[in-house]
Symmetry: D2
Subunit: 342 residues, 4 copies
């Protein structure tokens, strides 16, 4: 029970995805993406995003983020991101490796999202040979505090970026959760709001291991195929990754999975918030709930068989994550356990 | 039909592996390798190799090779390899990326294997600050010409390496094929012959995508976990990789698969060699057959529905690869097609 | 006149240094540092710092800083520094290049110096494979706001660093200016306060181009000679760099030069501060004076032939720098020009 | 006496260069190349090369070569060079560092120069995502065996390079020696023969430390200023480098220096060749003489106070180098010493 709400990466793959992998395992197929699943995926993504996209696959969010950044930032580039962003805190230097040394500039704000006015003020040094060059802004959807950027926030950030000849990257590790939270179209949440390159995550929301780097402007692809291969993410039997995403994006599987996770997070959030000694650290807008728990509550839950992760967000808040297959009963159990004492 | 013998990476996964992945997809499990399949795999590999090993997983041979080299070569290091080796010709600079700029020194010999006496003569510059420092020797089993190093060859190379304070890496993308070809134990073919780090491939011999970096000397692991994470190869749902390898190595699946592929390659090789206008380019010792085909034979086969890959080995020879599930009927068909004309 | 107080790198070399270069240009000498000047310099530095040091030379502060950091931080390392520090703002990613991708963590404080308590709170993630590893703290003397760390500040920072198994780097581009400001010994300001590696600058204080990376713990040198060569900073005719520093450090030339620059900065600082519409941005503790100038004052000075650099410190303050050969007359002229109007 | 003919980097700077440095040390000057000497140098080089060039300075050949390559090769690029070339053997991985991991492809030929037909055959993999991409050919003038490429050789190599969409780099560490040897114009030996970027050496032929990266096609400069700064080669007091080269290139100083060195090498070469037990390893075409010396001759010379460098060229030949200020008397002494015994 202990890892129940630890993360959305402790879950299994959803049946639609698993079935697709099994089905893809029939007969021979072209290698390195030259297969029917990869082609179908590219077409499907172009349709979903309402524009012709170029797609490259990877098996971890760390790789797909770092790869995307390597397409956008020169070795002497600056990548503006929130200080809590996954690329800044949880990838052990992968962006620096893949970009050849680009510099992440951590922005601060209390809610985990980049503030457009902070960004405008922070960008500097363009054209000055002594200064790493402003190159990319990276936003996360949903972001590391479980909140989501509103479309006008993304647009404001994108405008500042483009006005400064920078590109916009979206880390969409929890893209579907943000999408159903905002209730907008994939196109609206990305390129129509100025996003140039998206890393679309499937792993946390029902896949085994499947992430996509999606270029909305094919002309930005450039030498990316070589960067992709060089990074060790061009699988020979790529059909096993593309088939996952193809199933994930078919018949709204991804949206259903995300809606379920978000809905249960909402229930959990409201339940926790109803205790007088528990405060939400951030509003719950996707499938992550952050709360301030008093020491005795943490101890009580740990003693009751839960494994509370105090490391999250520098110990300042405790995180509960729901997933595509979270069980309402487990949430009720947790809330009841708390109610028995508080 | 056209990709039939193009590569062993066009094949599906074998049923034992596929079943294991399906079985691993039950319930929640710890992430990033903290799961029962990963633990079982480490134990199994330690048993198979008759020594306590440390294991790190990856999804491509390119990544696992480059990662292994990054553990062994400093940024200013030299890695001696055969000029035909996969790390030198087919990884688009991944070893250079992962090592931070180590230099591959291509050795030449007519058979695709490093000649120990050439190696001894080529190593130079140790301690000279102007010269990239000799650091690693990398051998491939089975190698890129489809032949295998004999144990005494590996031992001779390892001795030279260790005498020069260098490490020995084995690229085991086709490890099982070489193992059954030599009919020795995994320990004999590796650490007992001086190999320090092995990249063990599963993908070409029945897995979906599963490669392992295996350290035979745990003290050499050092900071490798950080290099592993930083490379984007630490999967959150690692059970989907470790379960593949765990099944692959259970009940001799890997050996059976390799024996089948090798046996069919032998049949194909002898069949091709029986034509007076076809010459073997190298002796067939694993699951790859290299032949010199006259232009008219290539044209005839292409017109007959085969897709002959002339790019292999700089066009100097044509490669046919058999796999764990190659069908004897397809080989007979190919030979018969040839016999109809020649 | 316009560049008069723009920087201490617009000045010429002092006569003692120039004479030494001329004298070094006699006859043949061993290359790559195998010469009498380089040997003498190592001995002199060991004497000055009261401990056996290892010395490597470079021609720019950017190179010497980045080299020093490359000796201390692994590719997946974190380097804590002030956000205004030269390594963070003015080296166009050189630290990232030389370290192979280490991550600079910018600390903030209003005075340009790292606050020990901030540092203690910011260090995190040690041993966590997802997190770039805390490896180095870098302090600048004198720092980018023209102030100096007190010895107890350096000691407090060093203690935190060492308690966390991190190293301490000092960027001593203006080392002599800080030294005479604190009026302590070179040993006290460095290794006796916990500094592991110093980059000692000569260029800004009377040399043509001469910087030294100084290891106080020879056992930390490790593979540094190879990193040094690989960076393109191992000059064949190294005597032309070592002779500069040797002269610079002889007969207190460096201290006299720094005292002069600091003294004139003090006069300039007090002069500027006496105007009611001019405020010091930071206390003047070395040879840099930072002031807030109203727009009309900037315009007036520019129209009077001065070239005010508004880019400094993001436009928040204007910088005046004095040097080893600054002329009191030029300072009086500047103050008088101001007095004529304000 | 022992280092007399060891290298041309054991020599002092010539008086014209030294005087220029002294003269440049007057008054204040703009930093980072914004000075009159740097401007004059750019103009002079444009005149000498009969085309508008872009110039960036460095202090070592290693840095200037690696920088030039970083402008021409992507991180996944291949750089074709001779296996004896300085970039391949004597820069400890600097090209790999500066380019971010490009791969040097060592070509072999008995004379130290790339054979155009070998090159044509070796280039492969263009557009194939698995293969590091052919990007640059680098030739050395004069090359590491002391011979020079003829213009038609350079043209043939350049044509092959450009036909394959690759660039041509010339390592001109001994550019002047090759130039006077061929007796052609600087333009003929470079861009008129297809060279895109030249690293022009001054250090070995009369400078203290001065090398230039010269772009013959300004449109190829691109982001190079940032790469230059990031590498730690953008000196704040750049006038001390540009003044050297400006003097070096004025009034034929460079050509006179090179002619002297070449002439004395010719005398030495003929003198050595006259001994029956000494054979020239390569024809002497610039200022380096390579000979095969029997063991007893080496011992005899070492015992006579010479310091014979047997490490050169893997011990296969002994190198004697003459310089701008080599003394005919020293050559006569050496020959006489030999004559006393042989």
């Amino acid at each position: 029970m202990n890892a129940l709400f630890a993360s959305d990466n402790v879950t299994s793959a959803c049946p639609e995805v698993m079935d697709a992998v099994i089905a893809a395992n029939l007969g021979i197929a072209g290698s390195y993406g030259d297969d029917e699943w990869s082609l179908a995926l590219k077409n499907r993504l172009s349709k979903i995003f309402e524009t012709e996209v170029e797609v490259f696959l990877a098996v971890t969010g760390t790789a797909s983020n770092a790869l995307a950044l390597s397409a956008l930032a020169p070795v002497f580039g600056k990548i503006y991101c929130h200080e809590l962003s996954h690329i800044n805190t949880d990838e052990c230097g992968a962006p620096e490796l893949f970009t050849g040394g680009a510099k992440l500039i951590p922005m601060r704000s209390s809610n985990g999202r980049i503030d457009p006015s902070d960004l405008a003020e922070t960008i500097r040094g363009s054209g000055n040979v002594h200064v790493a060059q402003p190159s990319v802004v990276s936003v996360t959807m949903s972001c590391e505090t479980g909140t989501v950027y509103q479309l006008d926030e993304i647009k404001a950030i994108s405008k500042i970026a483009h006005d400064n000849k920078m590109s916009v990257h979206m880390d969409g590790a929890r893209f579907a959760n943000a999408l159903v939270s905002l209730d907008v179209s994939p196109a609206e949440m990305t390129w129509k709001s100025g996003v140039d390159v998206l890393t679309l995550g499937g792993t946390k929301n029902g896949c085994l291991a499947a992430e996509a780097v999606i270029f909305f402007k094919p002309e930005m692809v450039g030498n990316f195929p070589f960067l992709h291969k060089r990074s060790g993410q061009l699988l020979s039997k790529m059909r096993f990754i593309s088939s996952q995403l193809e199933a994930y994006l078919t018949d709204d599987v991804w949206l259903r999975n995300a809606r379920h996770a978000n809905a249960l997070a909402k229930i959990l959030s409201e339940g926790l918030d109803s205790f007088s000694n528990i405060q939400l650290a951030y509003p719950t807008q996707s499938n992550e709930v952050f709360v301030h728990l008093p020491r005795d509550v943490i101890d009580y839950l740990n003693n009751s068989g839960y494994d509370i992760n105090e490391e999250e967000l520098d110990g300042k808040a405790v995180r509960f994550v729901t997933a595509w297959n979270s069980d309402i009963k487990d949430i009720n159990d947790l809330l009841e356990t708390l109610a028995q004492k508080y």
